[in-house]
Amino acid sequence: MQIIDVLKKYPASQTSLLEILLEIDRLKDNHYISKEEVHMISEYLGVRTSHVYSVLTFYTLLSTEPRGKHIIQVCKDIPCYVNDAFDVRKTLEKMLNMSVGQTSRDGLFTLEETACIGCCDEAPAMLIDLEPYTNLTRDKIERILASYREVTL
């Protein structure tokens, strides 16, 4: 689907802005909103580009920089932390050979930290493309990553 098709699905008013940004982000393999797209959105909605940027940069699920195909978000809050016997974040950093905030060289994964994702009863937990993975163990993480690599190959 083209960006213009996404825009046309929504009424041309400012209140559609966040929904549009989210949909474009999810549509794109590199999950970000480019300068050109910001201009298109601003023109379609009749709002200033500065306003589009103010919203785009406010919300953590959105990005102005290209990201990986799959976005891994590790929960960093207390309920996960006190149940995390093996350090999920470090384990992921090691397995992916990169640190939080980076994208893998093959462009497959971006590793991020997130605030609580409401999976505290099955901690520790993470999201990949907003899909929750819970009760994590080292083996489980390895299997999950492998499954994403396989699908892509």
């Binding site: 008013s13 400012q14 209140t15 559609s16 802005l17 966040l18 929904e19 940004l21 989210l22 909605l45 709002v47 306003h51 103010s54 919203v55 406010f58 919300y59 953590t60 699920l61 959105l62 960093k76 809050d77 207390i78 309920p79 932390y81 006190v82 149940n83 997130t114 605030a115 609580c116 994702i117 409401g118 999976c119 505290c120 009863d121 099955e122 901690a123 999201l127 907003l130 899909e131």
Partner: protein, 422 residues
């Protein structure tokens, strides 16, 4: 002790994708009952039930409804489903396991106050809740429970799901409304309150998922009967999200009056693998951290005010003795430093300084002066921040200064000794 299942009674019994399942167990019957009542009769029942907002602020629900019912012209109903308070997952379960209960509660409220447009603002991280609610709204529309002439009467109401995009502050009512309007989630100055000038500056009734989901039960069993549940301080049932170092983490519905210890030990099975409870955080990141000997308090909000704090949204996070108070506080405050929207100075600048001071405690490089700065700063943010985020964010510091003073003193002494040794 047992759970008292009211909002959770259909969990697992019905298929959340099936409106037929919901209708077969008496769903939407309460709406029909409510539609035979007048607006004032419904609000009276809500008042008699003594229910207060379940999102954490505990404002009497009937007062908002009564203020709204006096307004005329366009008005909105908004459901706050931006559950981002660390340790809470009750709204997720309510939406994923019984979505029509929420819709029915919103319909009853809309009918009572005279609104005909509503939004459910769900955090972007809860994709399955978004999907389920959108499906449920479509089903309800097909069956004539949403749209024009609902149940054959002159009552029109429609609902729309809006997604958040990863901003904790959007759980604050004005920040949430700003977000629906397509702006950054930054709060507004109160008053006017949302019931006077809310979404698009029109009167808006905004409630938490749990509050709306309770309304059908109040109308079904009558406000007076509902008010008999619970304790003399707070009526009804509360969903508790139990997490941390307990054997059986999970969601429990209990009557007000139940003690925190009962929830942890009798429902949660106590602490796992022979550890001891060191701290318990109540409500979420914005709640107090209390020691083990205070667990016999009940979950009532009013009694919490003794500690200058509230139960909030109902999280209980158990932390055992393997964890250091200052690493917990540091994580909590780093969270707030990140989530501050930046509109008011105490919150924007204050949290950055608080994180620096707590880092000193964590590193055992702290002086008594740092301690004084920390306490003073925590008080300033609490007193002067513009919205609920900053007003509650330092509760964990203020509570631990009171209940864990020993740890603070110990860390300062250790730092001094460390300094001399160098």
């Amino acid at each position: 002790m047992k759970e008292h299942k009211l909002l959770t009674k259909r969990f697992g019994e019905i298929d959340p994708f099936s409106i037929e399942d919901f209708v077969n167990v008496g769903g939407y019957e309460t709406l029909k009952k409510a539609m035979k009542m007048t607006s004032e009769e419904i609000i009276y029942e809500v008042e008699a039930s003594r229910i207060t907002g379940r999102g954490g602020a505990n404002f009497p629900t009937y007062m908002k409804m009564r203020a709204m019912s006096k307004e005329t012209g366009d008005m909105y109903l908004v459901c706050n489903a931006d559950e981002g308070e660390p340790g809470n997952f009750k709204d997720k379960h309510l939406m994923e396991k019984d979505p029509h209960q929420l819709i029915e509660g919103m319909l009853i409220s809309a009918y009572a106050v005279g609104a005909n447009r509503g939004y459910i603002y769900i955090r972007g991280e809860y994709q399955s809740a978004v999907y389920l609610l959108e499906h449920a709204i479509n089903e309800a529309r097909k069956h004539g429970y949403l749209g024009q002439d609902i149940c054959g009467k002159d009552f029109h109401f429609d609902l729309e799901v809006r997604q958040g995009a990863g901003a904790y502050v959007c759980g604050e009512e004005f920040a949430l409304l700003e977000s629906i309007e397509g702006k950054p989630g930054r709060t507004r100055v109160k008053p006017p309150f949302p019931t006077e000038a809310g979404l698009f500056m029109k009167p808006t009734l905004i409630n938490n998922v749990e509050t709306f989901s309770t309304l059908p039960h109040i109308i079904e069993m009558s406000g007076e009967e509902y008010g008999k549940l619970g304790s003399s301080f707070a009526s009804g049932t509360k969903l508790i999200s139990l997490s941390g170092n307990v054997k059986h983490k999970g969601l429990y519905e209990v009557e007000y009056g139940t003690t925190i210890r009962q929830v942890i030990e009798e429902l949660g099975g106590g602490v796992s693998n022979g550890q001891k409870i060191n701290m318990v955080q109540l409500g979420g990141a914005c709640g107090p951290i209390i020691p083990e000997h205070l667990l016999d308090m009940d979950i009532d909000n009013e009694r919490f005010e003794i500690f200058n704090s509230k139960m909030g949204a109902g999280a209980i996070i158990v932390i055992d003795d393997r964890f250091d108070l200052f690493e917990i506080l540091l994580r909590t405050m780093t969270f707030f430093a990140h989530e501050s929207c930046g509109k008011c100075a105490p919150c924007r600048e204050g949290h950055i300084q608080i994180v620096k001071l707590l880092q000193k405690f964590y590193d055992t490089k702290v002086t008594y002066k740092d301690y004084e700065s920390l306490v003073s700063l925590a008080n300033v943010i609490h007193e002067t921040a513009l919205c609920g985020l900053g007003q509650t964010s330092t509760t964990s510091i203020l509570a631990t200064v009171e209940f864990f003073q020993y740890y603070y003193q110990q860390r300062i002494r250790q730092s001094e000794r460390r300094e001399w040794a160098l």
